[in-house]
Symmetry: D2
Subunit: 364 residues, 4 copies
């Protein structure tokens, strides 16, 4: 059965995001990492000798011994996850797509590209239809699919089931973790015992991306959702977990019970397809008024947690949301996307037969 797993590669494999891909793909029932690329100067050395491993799970032995490759398509598997920094990701990922690879790309590097889906599998699987346009416009045999940035994923996940009530306006204040800035990322002197109330470009990113993720695919393109969003983004001395304080105004007048039911009943294609990384419940509502909290509630994998739903004196209702920046926001999101691509036949070769796909890496 192991022999049937699809070979996958990782660009930028030794960095912070790259390592989280390596960790997330350990023991994956459908995929196995056989190709890891890194900066020119490390090419030819073993992964374990170059990567300064910082994940809390052990470095998978099958990857530890791999030889680091050039960031070039020749010899790479068809499916490639990219942990490259936004600054360099664009050109490299484009080169891979041009050479026929399916690339799960860095969200930041294709922000302006209308034909690159920003896929959050529970929310907008229909955006994958953009790939036809991408193939036509770009004239390339490969594909690029992106996720969204951590706080966007958390916000979009909790807004998705509320679209039925007519989203009118949303305010969100984020308390973002230091892990969200990568490594070395935030200097300790800036954040220990402190709040940094500004993250360059982040507010606009959250506002624009969320509308894009929630948008409808029609006539060959994605029309951003019309909801007005105002974000205030801060960094706090927390290691993991984006906390979002959200207020929403609706077109219709749902009761708090309606809203809560929309959260708890939310489900999408990852659940319907029983993808290996899909959380059973994408949104979990916690009843205690002082939850969710980063230190207590982040062991729920890819689920986004919600709590303290109540009336808002200015908009209609308000609540707290929490999601893991790595498990849900970056590596985990890309992995779930890859599983969806696989089920949809967009990644050829080695894909397990449908109907026999549920594996051991089941969600929590």
């Amino acid at each position: 059965m192991i022999g049937r797993r699809l070979d996958v590669g990782i660009l930028g494999s030794t960095g912070s995001v790259g390592q989280s891909f390596v960790a997330a793909l350990a023991d994956h029932p459908w995929f196995r990492v056989t190709w890891v690329a890194a900066d020119e100067r490390w090419v030819g050395r073993r992964y374990r000798d170059v990567a300064s491993w910082r994940m809390s799970s052990p470095l998978p032995p099958a990857v530890a011994g791999l030889e680091l490759q050039r960031s070039e398509p020749a010899g790479a598997p068809r499916l490639v996850f990219s942990g490259l920094d936004a600054a360099v990701a664009g050109d490299v990922e484009t080169a891979f797509a041009a050479a026929g690879h399916v690339v799960l790309g860095n969200a930041g590097s294709h922000r302006m590209d209308d034909d690159v889906p920003r896929l959050v599998p529970e929310i907008n699987p229909e955006h994958l239809a953009l790939l036809e346009r991408q193939a036509k416009v770009r004239r390339w045999p490969g594909r690029i699919v992106c996720g969204a940035n951590g706080p966007t994923v958390v916000l979009a996940m909790v807004l998705a089931p509320l679209r039925r009530f007519g989203l009118r306006s949303v305010t969100v204040s984020t308390l973002q973790p230091i892990a969200g800035a990568g490594y070395p990322g935030v200097p300790a002197l800036d954040i220990v015992g402190n709040v940094v109330p500004f993250i360059p470009g982040e507010e606009e990113r959250v506002e624009d991306e969320t509308r894009r993720v929630l948008g409808l695919f029609k006539k060959g393109k994605v029309a951003p959702h019309g909801v007005r969003i105002s974000a205030q983004t801060t960094r706090v001395p927390v290691v993991h977990g984006h906390t979002a304080l959200v207020s929403v105004a609706f077109e219709s007048q749902p009761s708090l019970d309606d809203v809560r039911a929309a959260f708890t009943g939310f489900s999408g294609r990852p659940q319907a397809e029983r993808l290996p990384s899909a959380p059973r419940r994408p949104l979990i509502y916690l009843d205690e008024p002082d939850r969710p909290q980063p230190r207590l509630d982040l062991d729920r994998g890819m689920s986004v947690l919600i709590g303290n739903l109540r009336r808002c004196p200015v908009l209609d209702c308000k609540f707290v949301a929490l999601g893991n920046e790595v498990v849900r926001g970056a590596a985990g999101g890309a992995l779930l996307s890859a599983e969806l691509l696989s089920v949809d036949g967009l990644v050829q070769g080695g894909r397990p037969k449908r109907r026999a796909r549920r594996g051991s890496a089941a969600s929590r």
Copy 2:
């Protein structure tokens, strides 16, 4: 000149708020602490032997040797600051007022009392007119004046100069410090590396108190301001400083420059009267987009700091505010109030002559 200073007392003097009164009153040009009260079991012992001093400035020698008194009016000076917990403050403070004392009371213990001013001297000095009604209704020779709770003071201070534009709606997310919960206060296990997105009763407190502080005094009472306020209050692992993320919608359409000018031009009676504890500029606007920050900007004493003013896609404008929970919020606020009472002749005896009152404890 020292001999002319007014004797003052402190209720709950050994606790966290009481200690901050002792520290704030050290070297005060108008007042000197001559009477300190504490729990029954400590009566008769020296202040220094009972108080486990936790302030960063040294324990003033003049207080260190004072003998702790019963929390009873007999023998206490006319002006008394109360550092009592809300749970016990009400009865004791009432007893002192009934015996003719002027009490700067715990905000929490008189929340429901319409005739107790919640004084923020820059904002609502006219609320002191309530004291006449208080005297009449309560039939007592003393007076009780309260401040407001930390996040309320920060919010009210930044909204006060915006009243001219017609405050319609306000959303505020607070990131509150552990010092705001007193001592022992928050267990370390609850907050280290964590965000607690809920503080019992705090949202309603901020919403109601702010409207009260901003309200107009007419026909013998204070009518709360009509602005709609929605607060989301959180605790973060920061020692000092309430950070508030604020959005405001106005009746009129001020430009951002108008709003900024309203902030920087704000001034009140403490400044006009040149009260010893009055900050020269009650509101300071910082130009760097990533300021104010608790660890870098809290050395401005009683000034509230504002930064990153920008358009809000949902309301009209948004910005970040920061204030020191002790210096501005509790002890400092009460001290400034006492100075105003003194200037207004509400605290008899030993008050320095007007025109000669600016002392050495000048604000920064």
Copy 3:
């Protein structure tokens, strides 16, 4: 097979240590929690309604619905884990032993009792022979067995394999976590951004207990080991994990390789008996010079981690050690002790047959 599990009870089940017992016993192959006791005022209520669950794993459903019992022996299972505070533990635990129960007691409450083993199963299983004396002296049908306090366990574990070189002197500086002080434990104001260089009584406790744990059982009692130990104990703003900086002087002159080999080769009865909670390797040596670290290395369960072994210019060698205060220090230690008691036939009833005992809760 489930039917064969031994019923066990938990005293002080709703507190911080009690909850860690509940969590540690979830899915245990040999034991199942059927009896939980709490303070008088909660008796008769459901566990889930009283315990404010703070563990990161979910509350086991089988315990959630249990009705809280009085802290009295009647109706309790024979084997009882005690999460009671030292202040009240002594009398209650004594009452249970007098009524025939085997109690895994609070280390603090029997510190002065020569006939109560301080069991660290890898180190001193032979101390269980004290139980005969205990039975004789106390004239009771039950037994009390204790563990040791967190930093003691870490220190004793790393010194145990070095006894062969003749332990002469040991200095240890500990950097202890806030979780080690229980809940509510340390006030956040005392420890956020701070070091507290003093923990009342802790130095003497570490020095005395370590000698006791390492001591030899002869002639019916335990003679404390003769090594001289000097401890300096501090609290740091870390949630989990005791870090210990250790220097050791020996009678003989082992090389650093000898010392490292003693660490990595260390093993005891839990390993020989393959107890379900036994770590495969009680001591793990990490090669990177900057390890072990609390945030990166605490997922090794009951193993104690060691790193940076080097020559000491004053004593002979020095190194860093790290252990989890809950997993190794309290609940986990008691559980491993209970497993050893079970294998030795000291806990009757329901014990799995020898040779068939390795279960699914295998160590990491």
Copy 4:
């Protein structure tokens, strides 16, 4: 009087150490900053436009407007403080000395130079005699004087008065602050909620430098003190303040009272000369057993704090020490050194006459 102040310059003025020099020199009675140098690319721009000011005191206006200079001697004042990184400091500082400047250099860059005094003014002012040899060997008209690294200064300060008892052996465990690593320094991901038990090269540095600082000047050179020192150095999530856990063994047998008296009676030339930056008491002993603590006791300026002196079961006595890494360790130390050089006539020009030198920047 202001007109008499000596012009001084700062190399590496915009960095973390450079900024602390600017802050420490604000309002200095003897010196004024008139020359600031920075990296080539910033030359010609104003200090305020380049330095991202991170000190908690405001940027002094007199420096804010200075134009940044090349790191070359031409045009620089005779006395120059160096905030350059060790990596580049050596060559630049050497060039300045060769051109006749007196350089207060980076401790790290002249570690191997026997003829560069590592001056801690209270401890070893006689080491300045090395400057004659430096002039002779180097054949330059200028001078280089260095301080020591933060934890070394703390340790050397507490050991200095104990030399009289015959220092035999010392063990020290340090808990070092993130500010000690400069800016950006330690990545937040490495230290938030964590202990890093290893700082590259730091142990040897503390051991060697401390012996050097405590050494005797004889026959034209400094002979390191013969005490054996063993250091274990860690980084903890504390912003400011080196905590050191120290044990000492003596040749003689002083009582604890003798040791305490040696601490409290310690004084040196900075005190005798009443240098403006000299703390009145270089060592302060705190009686509470749980002090000193970084968050509570760092407002004592250049004093090093000591507490919890007690018997050590392995060496002779042990205690806790605390010093501010900036105020005592880097900028403050260099400033005190410059004041001593000034009094000794080693910095010509503008020096205030002896007997009239005590200014307003008096120590606390």
